[in-house]
C-alpha cells in the first residue's frame, strides 16, 4: 500500500485525529494488515503520537501488524457457542492448522481468530472461513471443511 492511497483515506476523514480508528480500519480492510510504514504515515498526517497508534493497534484483535493468511478462520466463542461445544471445534482446528488464535501459518494459508459473538446464536457452534459461515458444526465437520481450502 503506497502513501498516496493512505493519504486518500486520511483525506476522506478530513485528517481529523478523532478518525484514527476509522482510518486504521480502512487500511486494514484494504491491505489485510497494517505495515509499520503505514502507521508512521498515519501518525504524521493525523498528528497522533505513535504511542497511541501502537496502543490502539494492539488493543484490538481486528488489527494485524503482520500479514494475514489467504483464508481467515473465525471461530465464535460466544456464550451460546461455548455451551454447545465451540471449544472442541477450536481444539480440532488448532490441531489441524498448527496455529493458535491470533496466529498465521508459515505458508500464509490460514489465519485463526476467535470472536466473541457473531450474533447468529441459533447456528452455534459457528466457524466462518473467508466469510463463509459453517453453522452447527461438529469438530469432524470443521476438519472436513478446512480440507477444501488451498
Amino acid at each position: 500500500m503506497d502513501n498516496d492511497r493512505i493519504d486518500q483515506i486520511i483525506d476522506k476523514h478530513q485528517g481529523k485525529a478523532s478518525s484514527l480508528i476509522q482510518v486504521l480500519l480502512e487500511i486494514q480492510s484494504e491491505n489485510h494488515w497494517l505495515p509499520k510504514e503505514a502507521l508512521e504515515r498515519v501518525s504524521e498526517k493525523l498528528q497522533v503520537p505513535l504511542t497511541r497508534i501502537r496502543h490502539i493497534t494492539t488493543f484490538y484483535k481486528a488489527f494485524s501488524l503482520v500479514p494475514k493468511g489467504r483464508h481467515e478462520i473465525h471461530i465464535c466463542m460466544g456464550t451460546a457457542c461455548h455451551i454447545r461445544g465451540a471449544t472442541h471445534v477450536l481444539d480440532t482446528v488448532q490441531d489441524l492448522t498448527g496455529i493458535r488464535p491470533g496466529e498465521t501459518d508459515m505458508d500464509l494459508k490460514f489465519s485463526l481468530e476467535t470472536v466473541n459473538c457473531l450474533g447468529c446464536c441459533a447456528l452455534g457452534p459457528v466457524m466462518v472461513v473467508g466469510g463463509k459461515y459453517h453453522g452447527k458444526i461438529a469438530p469432524t465437520e470443521a476438519e472436513e471443511a478446512l480440507k477444501n481450502y488451498e
Binding site: E40, P49, L50, T51, R52, R54, H55, T58, F59
Partner: protein, 198 residues
C-alpha cells in the same frame, strides 16, 4: 474558588473547592498511600491503593482519593477495615509482578500483606503508567506507551522516538516505583539497534 469544609479521619478540614480528597489530605498532613499519582500529572486512578471510604448523605462508598473531588460536609476515612483489606490485597496482587520493588515492600509491611499469597509472575512492572504519562504530559515526547489490553497490557518504548529523545532525558527513570523502567529501555535499545553502531 470557594472554600469547602469536610472531615478527614475525624478532623475538620477547610480546603479549596476543586481539590481532590488526596490533595485535601496532603494539605493537612494526612498521609494516603499512592503509587500511580504524581503532582505534575493528570490523575490516573489505576493503582487504587489510595482507595478511601467516604460518607455522603448517609451512604458510604469506596472511592479513589486521587480522583474524588471534595464536597461540603464530606466525611472521609483514610483507614478503615474495608480500606485496609483492599490495600492489603492490591499489594499482594502487585507484588506478584514486582517482588523486589521497594515501594511495595514498605507498604506491604504496613498493611500486613503476604508477599507469597499469589504465584510470582515477575514482569517488574505494575503498569502505573508514570513513565508513559510523564513522557506524554510533561515532556510531550511520547517515546514510551502502553500496548495491548487486559492481562496482556505492557509498557514499551517506540524505538524510533526513543533513539532520538531518551538519551538526553531519562527523567522518567526515577519515577518508577519498581525500577523496571531501565531494563525496559535498555531492551528496546538493544532491539532497535542490534548492530550497536549508533
Amino acid at each position: 474558588m470557594g472554600e469547602i469544609l469536610l472531615q478527614i479521619d475525624g478532623r475538620e478540614v477547610k480546603v479549596e473547592e476543586g481539590m481532590t480528597i488526596l490533595e485535601a489530605a496532603q494539605s493537612t498532613g494526612i498521609n494516603i498511600p499512592t503509587l500511580c499519582y504524581h503532582e505534575k500529572l493528570e490523575p490516573y486512578g489505576a493503582c487504587r491503593i489510595c482507595t478511601v471510604e467516604v460518607e455522603t448523605g448517609g451512604r458510604t462508598n469506596l472511592v479513589a482519593a486521587c480522583l474524588y473531588p471534595v464536597q461540603e460536609n464530606l466525611v472521609v476515612m483514610t483507614r478503615s477495615e474495608k480500606v485496609d483489606k483492599i490495600r492489603k490485597m492490591l499489594l499482594e496482587l502487585m507484588i506478584a509482578h514486582a517482588p523486589e520493588a521497594g515501594a511495595l515492600q514498605e507498604l506491604a509491611q504496613e498493611y500486613g500483606a503476604n508477599k507469597d499469597r499469589f504465584e510470582k509472575e515477575p514482569s517488574f512492572c505494575i503498569l502505573c503508567g508514570l513513565c508513559v504519562r510523564y513522557c506524554a504530559e510533561v515532556k510531550k515526547k511520547n517515546a514510551v506507551g502502553f500496548v495491548d489490553r487486559g492481562g496482556r497490557r505492557e509498557v514499551i518504548f517506540i524505538p524510533e522516538i526513543a533513539a532520538k529523545e531518551c538519551w538526553n532525558c531519562k527523567e522518567c527513570f526515577p519515577l518508577c516505583p519498581t525500577e523496571a523502567l531501565q531494563a525496559g529501555y535498555l531492551l528496546t535499545e538493544a532491539l532497535a539497534f542490534p548492530s550497536g553502531n549508533r
